[in-house]
């Protein structure tokens, strides 16, 4: 059960679910539309299932290990190195910051979200002084607005609170 909740299992399951979704939908398409997705999707699903099974029995994949110049033989498992390096709470916090950025852009648009995100991240996560954080935020804001809105004449998203509508999904 513990293994099921590990990052590697969730990642592989996510890819397997997406692949199976494509395979199942492809079965309902016409001949030309389904041939290529099935030719790729079915082998990919089998390989992903093997990858998941290998999380319990690593010997399943050992035969397919690639050791270019045998340089990687005997090295510690990459999964272990990376997972040990990043605490799950820290990963969650970082993803939280990105979700905050997406929500801020959606609500108040780039003009306000850009300096706000840079300011908050630099101060709270980067431990920068307020003055430094403000200067970096202003520089980023000036660059984004200056380049896209003034130089390129693109209309950047203004946010739903300022009258822009979210496009249809």
């Amino acid at each position: 059960m513990k293994k099921l909740l590990e990052g590697a299992t969730i990642l592989n399951l996510f890819m397997l679910v997406f692949t199976l979704y494509c395979v199942i939908l492809a079965l309902g398409y016409g001949r030309n539309s389904r041939m290529f997705p099935l030719a790729i999707g079915i082998p990919a699903a089998i390989l992903l299932a093997l990858s998941i099974a290998a999380l319990w029995k690593p010997a399943i994949l050992r035969g397919a290990d690639v050791h270019l110049g045998d340089s990687s033989a005997g090295e510690p498992n990459i999964d272990e190195i990376r997972e040990a390096k990043y605490a799950p709470s820290h990963v969650a916090a970082m993803i939280g910051w990105l979700i905050l950025a997406a929500v801020a852009i959606g609500l108040i648009g780039f003009r306000f979200a850009v300096p706000l995100f840079v300011l908050l991240f630099a101060h709270f996560e980067g431990r920068a002084k307020w003055l430094t954080a403000v200067m970096v935020a202003l520089f980023t804001w000036a660059f984004v607005v200056g380049y896209f809105e003034l130089f390129m004449k693109f209309g950047m998203f203004r946010g739903v609170l300022f009258g822009d509508m979210l496009p249809l999904y």
Partner: protein, 503 residues
């Protein structure tokens, strides 16, 4: 061979293009100096910014970024003992001890000269390969193109992933992600993922690539938000010894040529780049060198490391431009840049758009020379960039990526796709997957499906068409050989071990 050279050179004479080449070189240098960033991330961030440029300017800009980051990475490798990019790992072994004994400027000068010459040798190999490769692409019809893409994916899965099965599986996921949306080949809206409108055009290349390469790295940098190199750890270097460094490189011409050729060969193999070539060339030189200082600040070792990693770009560009199979992740982003500007990538690029090939050649030359010259002149000040904590750099990069991915189509959902692919890329790397198979699968799927369907139309549905053409058959057999090689090798090793035990 020389058709297209005139418009490429004419564009380079334009002041605006020169400005973007200089800007691209500076961006590449700075990205190379900042540990954790490199040319892939810099190109991914810059990609949407090229949207408003004309296509030749955009390709010049991206090529100059591509060529300049590796020398940038040598600066912290020599002065701080931290490789700026993975392609400078071997540089630290020889460069930092030289800097510590007061020869920092000489080491920077050796590195700049070897990088420039290695880069030029690599680009020369690309130019030499054009008349050889160009006639070959005429043999490529739909079945051969499909088999070539298949071979490219299998080779990349082999070369960059620790495990063949995991590599192929992620390449398959990349292909399926690319098939989401309306298919121009079959006229069907496939795998809608609940979307009624947005995904009609599929998952956008720029949003996906900036997310998977740029944002995933930014997330990783954010984990080290408070880290920066203390200024006191940077070794001071003046200008004394600069000329000696240039002379040093010419005292080891064979090391320079051998390492550059190693870099080119590694570059031509799809999927692997400077991070492998600098270690391979350094190891080869270590075996041949009689220098007692090797490993403790050897000039020969530094030349080997820095010439090979820069020569790799020329090699990387050969499969990218000739066949549309990216030689490295940086070339995958460059390919996305070509696609963004409506330039078809694949065997037909050399048939129809030779000017683009020359633009890449001149862009790489200009980026290499400019970055080595300017980088060397201001290296001692540029090294201070490493003192910037990632907590200040990361939010700026995130916002540039999100604004850039929005600007291409001015659609808010592209921002979410970028964030989604950034998180996906972060988890892939965190669990030992390479980003290249999934990206290559994503980039090549459209061409592969078109070739697949066209081939079956030609043969009236018979899959035997893939076996009838000798080129297609050779490519298929090569794919099978590459896919089965790790399995056969592992069986043979097991057998040998059993024999040894029995003995």
């Amino acid at each position: 061979m020389f058709e297209g050279i005139a418009p490429a050179l004419a564009a380079l004479a334009n002041a605006q293009v020169i400005g973007f080449v200089i800007l691209g070189s500076i961006i590449g240098l700075v990205a190379g100096i900042l540990p954790g960033l490199g040319n892939i991330q810099a190109m991914a961030v810059a990609l949407p910014f090229t949207f408003g440029m004309d296509r030749l300017t955009a390709i010049y800009f991206l090529s100059s970024i591509c060529a300049s980051a590796t020398y940038g990475g040598a600066i912290p490798a020599i002065l701080v003992n931290i490789p700026g990019t993975p392609a400078n790992a071997a540089t630290t072994i020889e460069g930092y001890p030289m800097a510590k004994r007061g020869e920092g400027t000489r080491a920077l000068s050796i590195s700049a000269t070897a990088s420039a010459l290695g880069g030029l040798i690599g680009i020369a190999s690309l130019v030499v390969s054009i008349p050889i490769v160009k006639p070959l692409v005429l043999f490529f019809g739909p079945p051969e193109t499909f088999m070539l893409v298949l071979l490219g994916m299998v080779t990349i899965a082999y070369a960059v992933q620790q495990n063949m099965i995991r590599g192929l599986a992620t390449a398959g996921v990349g292909v399926l992600l690319s098939l989401v949306g309306f298919s121009p080949v079959t006229g069907v809206f496939r795998f809608p993922l609940g979307s009624s409108q947005y995904l009609w055009d599929g998952i956008q290349d720029v949003a996906f690539l900036t997310g998977i390469f740029g944002l995933s790295e930014a997330i990783r940098s954010g984990m080290d938000a408070r880290k920066g190199v203390p200024a006191a750890e940077i070794i001071h270097a003046g200008f004394h010894g600069a000329l000696q460094g240039v002379k040093d490189v010419f005292e080891y011409p064979w090391t320079l040529v051998r390492s550059s050729v190693t870099g080119i060969i590694v570059g031509i193999a799809p999927g692997i780049g400077g991070s492998v070539s600098n270690v391979v060339a350094y190891a080869m030189t270590a075996q041949m060198s009689k220098d007692p200082m090797f490993g403790k600040g050897s000039i020969e070792g530094l030349i080997a490391a820095e010439s090979s990693n820069n020569a790799t770009y020329g090699g990387d560009a050969v499969p990218t431009l000739a066949f549309g199979i990216p030689g490295s992740a940086a070339m995958a982003v460059l390919m996305a840049g070509l696609t963004l500007h409506g330039i078809p990538v694949g065997p037909w690029l050399m048939k129809e758009h030779m000017e683009i090939v020359w633009v890449v050649v001149f862009g790489l030359v200009a980026g290499t020379l400019f970055s080595c010259l300017v980088g060397f002149l201001v290296a001692r000040w540029l090294a201070r960039i490493t003192t910037l904590p990632m907590g200040l750099v990361m939010p700026v990069i995130v916002m540039l990526i999100l604004a850039g991915s929005f600007a291409v189509r001015q659609n808010y959902w592209d921002v979410l796709v970028t964030i989604g692919s950034g998180i996906f890329g972060f988890f892939l790397v965190s669990h030992g997957y390479s980003l290249l198979p999934v990206t290559i699968g994503f980039l090549l799927a459209g061409a592969a499906e078109l070739a697949f369907i066209q081939a079956l139309y030609i043969s009236e549905g018979s899959p035997l068409i893939f076996l009838k053409s000798p080129v297609s058959l050779i490519l298929l057999l090569s794919s099978i050989a590459v896919a089965l090689y790790p399995v056969l090798k592992s069986r043979l090793l097991e057998k040998e071990r059993r024999h040894e035990k029995a003995a």
